[in-house]
Assembly symmetry: C3
Homo-oligomer: 286 residues x 3
């Protein structure tokens, strides 16, 4: 049998001992676990960033993998520690929006675009069908004493290890019907025009939007961002020079700069508006 | 049987090949070892920093784990390569203070606070009871030729792997009675006042002191640092705004800034003095 | 049997989800694989840097290990995805020079120094004897749909996993006779003088040259770089103060600064010329 796998996604960096502590706790409970680092370089307290990274990674792992995500500025307060069991993986995280993209995926992307909330506003959404969510409430599966400032070590890591050892989710918490997500889908559509937002800036400074698009008739497309007009969609980063737009590996419209950082060049970031225009359809002057 | 585990803590960064070389050497001798990265982002040559990270991590791992720590500015000189076998783990490191917190822990914290040495001064301390230490002297367990500038690859990594394969510590070195630690415990106590030092700055800019305290009657406490007075101890990072003091996850007094860096705000770092005052006991004007 | 090992060397950083995606894909195909991070902190698009890191790491791993290297600014264009099977490891990478040092090693360093090409210029070289190279052409071993911008996830990772599961290289691609390397060997020799280049700057700011040298009669040696003259070769970083020259752990001449960065001090980097002079042999004025 393949070993149980636990992935870690945190904003702890690697210059402190927090990641080491979490790894030690997992291996102290189940020394057979294979630990996989997804990221410890999430910018401090940046929940939307971590949510995107987790959403862009989890789907490639086998479904029995346990994903632990800890970006937790509200640690020790009322925010609930969660375990969400899904057909695409098992997730342990504070209930603060870290599972936004995971839950959108698993809900089959059926929610309408633009639901009236503000960009990145937290909302409670129902647990998608086929999934179940638990608020972690059973201290016998935690490490003691529980620090009020480090649930990663004292709650999330031990629960992950116990899950690997076969403890069932319902033994470790109480079922809940709603989970917090952030509104990352505010997209407006007019004839020939889709206006969305940058939702992620990657390591290269590429700007990833929330506009899902095919690249049919790419030459007819135009992208407007920060007052700049980028003509046509490219297929690779190596085409053209300077700024370019393409459908990125996430399946969403991206703006990149060849061998450079589009984020720096455009002074753009998460929340920046971006428009995708189909020139043959859009009205004059749009 | 669970696989043998080797953790790595270095100042090598991940942009060079040094970590890869060490991992390769371990796996070349014992391909079954599970490698666990604790940190490779120790600031260059910063032994006190690495010592703290190792001390904050090792205790959560199973006791049979082998911890390799390499921050080694004196590599190739007289400083001894060490193997320290303890009930809390097996440690391989240069004898330069990297095991300071590990040894304080294992000695049961029985040394008096403030022993007259200067802050961070190296001292030789006896190997704690129940532990044994060896200077690595047996080249048949090393990689050859041994570089004078990279004992991590040529001595520490192969010794760790041989330890995992069952070679006994006493076969690889000669017993020694003393090990180097740094003085990180200089704390002065007066009635109602404890004055200590910042000993670690974490990834978030939180300032961790060497003042161990409970948080009983937290409202009566006051923290003085860099001319700033912080009233009361909080329980979580989410309480109040701006600077706050609390008992951190390490069990020591910490100074933090909500969603920010206390280190930047206070221009404080390792060595900065910090005072914990119990107002109802401290004399006027203190 | 020891588990199959796959190492990863990329310029993806750890703040994005690209590394997580690659790890997930490998484990999704073969959950028994042991993943080993060599580096994800290669500077963006810096092929010579990644080539050096891979060259400095691979040789310490067992020869059956699969090394995946992805620094791939030309992803999606004509550049071929490669699998190179050698007695020193199995390598999966775009054909853009990432295997430069691996191939020089395996060719037994028999190529003459200075072949007339410019420093870092790409050249096609024959696959060394005892090795075989394949252009990856068989999409049944890839992940679909294949993104034009992320072959790491969709081609390199799945091919690595299939290789671990026992698929033979020749089933996954077509044999090729030449592979791209970068010219990193331009070294000029005159009596008593060798002039080479800095080919790598490590995490500490140490400058690694392409001049291979023993340290016999080190006191007679002198190193010239950026108008500075450094007398004698040292044995360790702890000798002398300020700038020093030594034979580094890679076996090449290095210039370092004690407890500092020689790269910063000298404003030197990859491509900087460096001369090693044997004073007793060199002509006056050289």
């Amino acid at each position: 049998m393949a070993p149980a796998i636990v992935t870690l996604t945190t904003d702890f960096g690697l210059s402190s001992g927090y990641v080491g502590a979490m790894k030690g706790v997992v291996l102290g409970i189940d020394a057979d676990v294979t630990l996989v680092d997804i990221s410890h370089d999430i910018p401090p307290q940046d929940i939307p960033h971590a949510a995107f990274v987790l959403g862009a990674s989890y789907r490639y792992f086998p479904p029995e993998v346990v994903h632990v995500a800890v970006v937790d500025p509200q640690v020790g307060t009322e925010r609930r520690p969660l375990l969400v069991d899904t057909p695409g993986g098992r997730f342990i995280a504070p209930d603060n929006g870290l599972l936004t993209y995971v839950l959108l995926d698993l809900a089959g992307r059926t929610r309408p675009d633009g639901d009236g909330e503000g960009f990145l506003a937290p909302t409670s959404v129902p647990v998608p069908e086929g999934c179940s969510a638990y608020a972690l409430t059973q201290p016998e599966y935690w490490r003691h004493p529980v620090s009020d400032t480090f649930h990663g070590r004292d709650i999330f890591a031990p629960v992950a290890a116990h899950l690997c050892r076969g403890v069932r989710p319902e033994e470790m918490g109480e079922a809940v019907g709603e989970v917090t997500t952030l509104d990352v889908r505010t997209v407006e559509r007019r004839p020939g025009v889709v206006e969305g937002r940058i939702v992620f800036v990657d390591h290269f400074g590429n700007l990833v939007s929330n506009i899902r698009t095919g690249d049919d008739n790419a030459a007819d497309m135009e992208v407007d961002i920060r007052g700049r007009r980028i003509e046509g969609l490219k297929r690779t980063f190596a085409e053209g020079r300077g700024l370019l737009a393409l459908v990125g590996s996430h399946g969403y419209l991206e703006v990149a700069e060849r061998n450079g950082s589009a984020a720096d060049r455009l002074e753009a970031g998460v929340g920046t508006r971006v428009r995708l225009v189909r020139r043959s359809e859009a009205g004059a002057g749009s």
